[in-house]
């Protein structure tokens, strides 16, 4: 105890007080001036989900884009909606492009956090029609789906959503996403006899009543990695999980089959946060990613489907057959993301009440 005290005192005397002051001044300057961390001119900042997906985008999109325009793309991770709101409210937007899930197209616009897309620069005509893929504040990025994957060693092949809710014929746990917009409400309604065209607005009460029939057999997953793990190791025999995770489980040798007829098609979107310092270059970037070439390139690099149907002309048939939007998904139900954008909070309250009851 006393020896430590002596040592500390000696240390303090050793360094002159001026040195300490200089040091702390430098420390404060570093904290107070994030400009040193900011992007160089001619470089846009793209907030992404990171990981192997970002690596694929770098090859398929960022490098060719930089070659073509001279505009670099720097990525940052942690593209949470809360951070966009914090940046915009503080008047210090540091991101130029953010990839988000589609509900944020409407939530972000309603909260006035987004720059309108400059459709003089961004050509929206080749984008897949219908289902609100394009909004005044967003463009779609790639297609993905939530679909039924099952462990073929543990379960026979489910043919319909009614089968998913039949625990007698298909015993075992089902893995669903823990958030309300994970398509399990839609699946329940389809299983209960609702026509796909009549899904929205969702009859949540009816969906929850149907879900109650298999309540003890539901395993909710919090992250997509967990979803993949659940069906891979057989903790769940059937999962309503992202197609990328089902394909990745298959690729890793898990006995997983995909029921493409039981798919919900959705997409990710790109937005420009309000006050983005390089909004114009961001628009050029968005325009580039929506060319058929760029869409085909990303679809070859990663298992997401192109939002520009023409890109399928440049994708080999066996590749197209596993991608969202490909021919095997002609029966896929398109998620009512606009409805979700407006109703996520209210629907979540109902689902939470059901979970806790």
């Amino acid at each position: 105890m006393s020896s430590t005290r002596i040592r500390t005192t000696r240390l303090l005397h050793g360094a002159s007080r001026r040195d300490l002051l200089k040091l702390s001044a430098a420390a404060i300057a570093t904290v107070a001036a994030p400009s040193v961390l900011r992007a160089q001119a001619g470089e846009i900042v793209f907030a992404s989900w990171g990981g192997s997906w970002e690596a694929a985008m770098r090859e398929a999109w960022f490098k060719p884009f930089t070659q073509k325009t001279g505009i670099g793309v720097r990525t940052v991770s942690g593209n949470a909606y809360g951070r966009i709101q914090a940046m915009v409210e503080a008047g210090k937007t540091e991101w130029d492009v953010v990839e988000v899930l589609p509900d944020f197209q409407w939530i972000g616009a309603e909260k006035k956090l987004l720059e309108p897309i400059d459709f003089n620069l961004v050509d929206k005509t080749p984008i897949m029609a219908g289902a609100d893929l394009v909004t005044p504040y967003s463009v779609p990025q790639v297609l993905f789906s939530r679909l039924i994957a099952y462990n073929k060693k543990l379960s026979p092949a489910p043919k319909s959503f009614a089968d998913i809710f039949d625990t007698k014929k298909f015993p075992g746990k089902r893995a669903f996403y823990s958030k309300a917009n994970g398509a399990f409400l839609e699946a329940a309604l389809l299983a209960d006899g609702v026509a796909p065209s009549a899904l929205y607005p969702l009859d949540i009460e009816r969906a929850l009543k149907k879900l109650s029939t298999i309540r003890d057999d539901i395993l909710f997953y919090e992250t997509n990695a967990q979803a993949e793990q659940f069906v891979t190791d057989g903790q769940a025999v059937i999962g309503l999980i992202p197609d990328g995770r089902a394909l990745s489980a298959q690729k890793n040798g898990a006995p997983i089959e995909i029921a493409y007829d039981l798919s919900f098609l959705t997409w990710s979107a790109m937005v420009v946060p309000k006050g983005a310092p390089r909004a114009k270059q961001a628009m050029e970037f968005l325009a580039y990613t929506l060319t058929p070439d760029a869409q085909a390139a990303i679809a070859k690099a990663y298992t997401y489907g192109p939002v520009v149907p023409k890109a399928f002309d440049m994708i080999p048939a066996e590749r197209a057959a596993i991608l969202s939007g490909g021919p095997q998904m002609k029966n896929a139900v398109i998620m009512g993301e606009k409805w979700w954008g407006a109703n996520l909070a209210a629907a979540t309250e109902k689902v939470n009440a059901w979970k806790l009851s």
């Binding site: 395993l219 967990q226 190791d233 996520l344 979970k355 806790l356």
Partner: protein, 279 residues
């Protein structure tokens, strides 16, 4: 240097820390609390929602219940451990400390996923029990409150053992010898002298574990089931998904008030501050 400044020396040393706490903690917290009241629909709309709607009452009560259960389990496991830690010789002490501290320093996510490997229906524990013939199917050890309790207790145990061991080590061994020499059996001396004298440590450690448990996010999210929806998860959802910050702020304020109140009670009645030398 002027004499007045020199005599203010120690105070100046506190200043940077004080400014840091004030600027990076007190001010943002004040803003957070202000956000929770600042809604066009009325200052208390979010609070009345939390305290009148069954869903939120359930979330609050589950958070409190799970935290209390964690604290209780930590006492039951931590007391004998701290007792042994205090009595063991040099090597024994080092061994126990290593067993407590290595998990303490291991990443929370790693430990949480480790529990899944042990607890899941196809996991190590169920496999072992099936092999020795104790069970036929599998015990539901994870994706329910059991899983959450196991995970939280393991993470919180050091917060119980270390303060408790500190209190025990400060106890004068002569007191126990006196009790024995006055005719108390070992058990009676332990129950009537040792336990009451270490009770402040038990209460202090329990409060510490309870308060820290209130804000748990990762463990219940990964090891819990649908019913283990806790306050921290609701806060995260409202901040990052629906951007309903006023409601998230109100939920956070409830957590904050609960924690501060508990700390105040602990400090006022059980001398919680003494555990880490605040007095």
């Amino acid at each position: 240097m002027p004499a007045r400044l020199r005599s203010a020396g120690p105070a100046i040393l506190i200043l940077p820390g004080f400014l840091l706490v004030a600027g990076l903690f007190v001010w943002p917290v004040a803003q957070l609390v202000a956000t929770s009241f600042g809604d066009k629909a009325g200052a208390l709309v979010h609070y009345s929602k939390i305290f009148t709607e069954t869903t939120y009452l359930r979330v609050v009560s589950r958070t409190l219940l799970l935290s209390a259960q964690t604290a209780l389990l930590c006492v039951l496991l931590g007391y004998p451990l701290a007792y042994q830690l205090n009595r063991a010789g040099r090597i024994g002490k080092a061994l126990i400390l290593v067993c407590i501290l290595i998990p303490f320093w291991t990443n929370l996510l790693v430990r949480t996923y480790g529990w899944i490997i042990l607890l899941n229906p196809q996991g190590v524990i169920n496999g072992l029990l099936r092999q020795v013939g104790l069970i036929e199917g599998s015990l539901p050890l994870v994706y329910n409150s059991t899983g959450v309790l196991v995970g939280m207790t393991q993470i919180m145990l050091p917060y119980m053992v270390l303060p408790l061991a500190a209190v025990m080590s400060r106890l004068d061994p002569a007191v126990m010898r006196a009790a024995r020499s006055l005719g108390a059996s070992p058990l009676a001396a332990f129950l009537k002298v040792y336990v009451p004298l270490t009770l402040p440590g038990v209460l202090g450690g329990s409060l510490l574990v309870f308060m820290l448990s209130l804000g748990f996010f990762v463990v219940p999210a990964i090891l819990g089931g649908p019913r283990d929806l806790l306050l921290a998860q609701l806060i995260e959802f409202n901040i990052n998904q629906t951007l309903n910050w006023p409601f998230a702020a109100a939920l956070s304020t409830v957590l904050l008030v609960a924690t501060v109140t508990l700390y105040w009670i602990g400090d006022r009645f059980f001398g919680l501050g003494r555990l880490w030398g605040a007095r």
